[in-house]
């Protein structure tokens, strides 16, 4: 926990008064400061996928143990990406520095550091692009003072370190991109920058180790198959205590209707575990009532994809498991759990990278007959789309009163909001399982939603000051509805959020708890043959049952 800083101290540090100098002169003085950066990738983790330059190194030390020709590697890396990604090339060329993005970034709002303005974050790289890749830049290099005048700079070690520091202070949330008149997406630039860093072995451990785990054990947390099964069976026991119904799931079941994949965080840590129990209850209900056969897989036991924060290639290598397993098991289509960046990858990348999924069927909900035309090619459906469809067709028996103690607001996760547009499906589900729902202010939800401050692999422990600073805009909006409506629960559909927002709440708004939407579904859903429930999935008394305790 940001041991060093109390919330008040953190707030005192915010100063939007940028200095009046030239930012080009400040590169040398950038201090990679504890609390603001993540530890370097361990060599073992980099080796798993045979990524370049695995070695132990420390960002705060002078020597980063780079290959001798590192400048050439970066130069060629940029060149290659300019040809491969139109986004990158255009975003390097067309920014007019209008500043509309400046105060849209949660890290800028929470730190006041001018290099956290999206425009300046991008300029860190753009200044090098202009210098080395444009005709004007090459001419200006030869004129005394020309570089400075053009805002251009050579790729020095200091510049590399500065970029590393600041591109790991971006959570790829795309909020700035909503406001940019040219749609310049800092996430895209950060993705490129991180790809370039990875060419030199400059990943952070919080990304590299989950990637390595995911590659070999099937999930980020490195949960081995037998342990994964144990964990779910542990939930089954809990659910049986609470409901009296056995919700034992299928594993690797060939010929099941649907393969279900969710982030492993839901299996591993509270409060995601309650969401996971919600899934189990839902699937049991559908099996019992309608004979729907859902299977889990320990091999494809990760919905998330930290490869996305490493490189496009790594993303593809990790994502390949989903189709591979669906094909092996012979399921009809894939259902995906509540997760943020997982859904950006599935929605905007998966089919392109690892498709076509011609061995699957266009997803149809066999219970309602609804054909998910929006997933006709990728053949993967979001669980809130699925559940919303079931509710709409009155296929679920729900008892809202079991969530009556929850006064809820909803945090739109960045990726489903701005990389997909999944906004009303979760709200529809919420409104059908809970009576007390209040929105946070409009500038902080839906496409304007603020990041939790810990996305894109920054959910580590050592960068807590950064995370809590980045969390500030979300936290102030949450605090507002907490004070105004007595909101006590922050609903979300993202596994990183369930971890990160819990820390956020603890730090900024301690009276609020975080809950996944399917935890609430699990509470409300009346299972066939269940006993009278007195506890919710957290084993806390249900509303109205408190006295009986």
């Amino acid at each position: 926990m940001a041991d060093e800083l109390t919330p008040d101290e953190l707030l005192d540090k915010i100063d939007y008064g940028t200095d009046s100098g030239n930012w080009l002169d400040t590169t040398k003085s950038v201090q990679i400061r504890p609390g603001m950066y993540c530890y370097a990738a361990k060599p073992e983790s980099v080796e798993t996928l045979s990524l370049p330059n695995a070695r132990s190194w420390n960002p705060t030390e002078e020597d980063w143990k780079l290959p001798d020709n590192w400048q050439q590697i970066i130069h060629e890396g940029i060149k290659e990406r300019l040809e491969r990604f139109r986004t990158f090339k255009i975003f390097m060329d067309v920014c007019v520095r209008c500043g509309a993005c400046a105060d849209k970034c949660h890290f800028f709002l929470g730190t006041g550091d001018p290099k956290n303005m999206p425009v300046l974050r991008a300029e860190l790289l753009r200044s090098i692009y202009r210098n080395d890749f444009t005709t004007a830049g090459k001419i200006l290099q030869n004129i005394p003072g020309g570089q400075r005048l053009g805002g251009n700079r050579p790729l020095t070690l200091d510049a590399l370190k500065e970029m590393w520091y600041y591109f790991f202070q971006c959570t790829e949330c795309r909020r700035c991109s909503v406001f940019c008149p040219y749609g310049i997406d800092t996430a895209e630039i950060t993705i490129m920058a991180r790809e370039l860093f990875n060419l030199l072995g400059l990943n952070i451990d919080w990304i590299a180790t989950p990637v390595s785990n995911c590659y070999t054990t099937g999930n980020h947390l490195g949960i081995q198959p037998h342990a994964f099964k144990d964990m779910l069976e542990f939930f089954v026991e809990d659910i049986e205590d609470i409901t009296g119904v056995d919700c034992t799931p299928n594993f690797q079941k060939k010929g099941a209707d649907i393969l279900f994949i969710t982030p492993s965080g839901d299996v591993f840590a509270d409060p995601g575990t309650y969401t996971c129990q919600g899934y189990l209850i839902l699937f049991q209900y559908l099996k019992e009532k309608y004979g729907l056969d859902v299977t889990w897989s320990t091999y494809a036991s990760e919905g998330g994809n930290f490869g996305f924060f490493t490189s496009h290639e790594t993303m593809k290598r990790l994502n390949a498991k989903m189709y591979y397993e669906a094909k092996r098991l012979g399921v009809k289509w894939i259902l995906g759990g509540e997760c943020g960046h997982m859904w950006r990858v599935i929605h905007q990348y998966m089919d392109t990278m690892n498709g076509p999924a011609d061995f699957l069927e266009v997803p149809v909900n066999p219970i309602t007959g609804t054909k998910f035309h929006n997933a006709a090619s990728t053949k993967m459906v979001h669980i809130t789309e699925f559940t919303a469809d079931l509710i709409k067709h009155n296929k679920l028996e729900l008892d809202k009163s079991r969530n009556a103690n929850r006064i809820l607001t909803f945090h739109d996760s960045c990726n489903p909001a701005r990389g997909m547009g999944l906004l009303d499906e979760p709200r529809y589900v919420i409104n059908n399982v809970c009576d007390n729902f209040y929105e946070m202010p409009p500038n902080t939800i839906r496409e304007n939603t603020f990041c939790c401050g810990s996305g894109a692999g920054l959910n580590a422990g050592e960068n807590m000051e950064l995370r809590m600073a980045g969390a500030l805009p979300r936290a102030t909006a949450l605090k507002h509805v907490h004070e105004k409506y007595g909101v006590n629960t922050l609903g979300t559909i993202c596994a990183i959020d369930r971890a990160a927002l819990s820390t956020l709440c603890e730090y900024w708004v301690p009276e609020v708890e975080v809950a996944g939407i399917h935890e609430l579904v699990g509470n409300a859903l009346i299972l066939p043959g269940e006993k009278e429930r007195t506890e919710d999935l957290r084993m806390e008394p249900l509303p109205g049952c408190e006295e009986e305790e």
Binding site: T18, C95, L109, G183, R418, E447
Partner: protein, 334 residues
Amino acid sequence: MTQKYLIPLAAVFLLFLVAYTGAGAGLGWFFGIVFPYLAIIAFLVGFVIKVMGWARAAVPFRIPTTCGQQKSLPWIKQNRIDNPDTASGVFVRMLLEIFLFRSLFRNTKAAFSRSASNRITYSWEIFLWVAALAFHYAFLVVLLRHFRFFTSPVPFPVQFLEALDGIVQLGLPGLFLSGVVLPAAALFLLARRLFDQKVRYISQASDYFPLFLILGIAITGISMRYFTKVDITAVKEMTMGLVTFSPTIPDGIGNLFYAHMFLVSVLFAYFPASKLMHLGGVFLSPTRNMANNTRAKRHVNPWNYDVPIHTYEQYEDHFRDKMIEAGLPVEKKE
């Protein structure tokens, strides 16, 4: 820091003086004929090269920024413009983006107050949008009005635009609204760069230079129309000479005109190498000009290549004993 704007300002002055005095020294043919031709060539060639460069770059993934509800279930209302799933939706989104600067219209201003409540407040910040829109449209009107100098007879749309632009019917020669709006908006954008601390910090010389240059063009133009006056017949003879590729240098045009012409030429020549290329870039931006239908319709990456993956078989080989012990199904028992 000050050199970021003082140098561009000085440069524009210098350019003006070079042309003004140069024309006076009998170099009118250079500033009126040779340089404009070169500038137009540089503009066209540069523009095409730049756009071709963007167009050549691959679009590996369909990654629009979605700013509204997706198309999913039939009973959930989709935001067809901000989250389009069809080409027509994208077309409307792009029209709004290009002609009305829709994204900029969303602009808000965040303010944090360190007090008991520690609130961050957001207010709608419309001025940048207004100024940007005013600036671009005034510029467009000015540009189109100038077709009067390059056409004979002057086509009706140009005459109509002129009439519209002069609708206030003030003074003689009649005041053009664009002549007021363009410099006013340019000055606002300049003031924003100079006085808004954040924008000042991010601004480069290349942000100030085009503003000063356009102001220089506007001032010389306005000066000729309303104050110093030029021999308009001679000017038209010259400009018509340029478009008909039979350039002449009539007498009595005046040095100010050459300075005006030169600054315009510099703007054209500078354009493709500068941020002004956002004119072309806005059409090609993949976060705006693509439909959000990647799950419905497969997008093909032209450079997609095979990658090593960790297969299920490798996984099972690694964990077989543990899986069997845990009662998990396996493909091979041994």
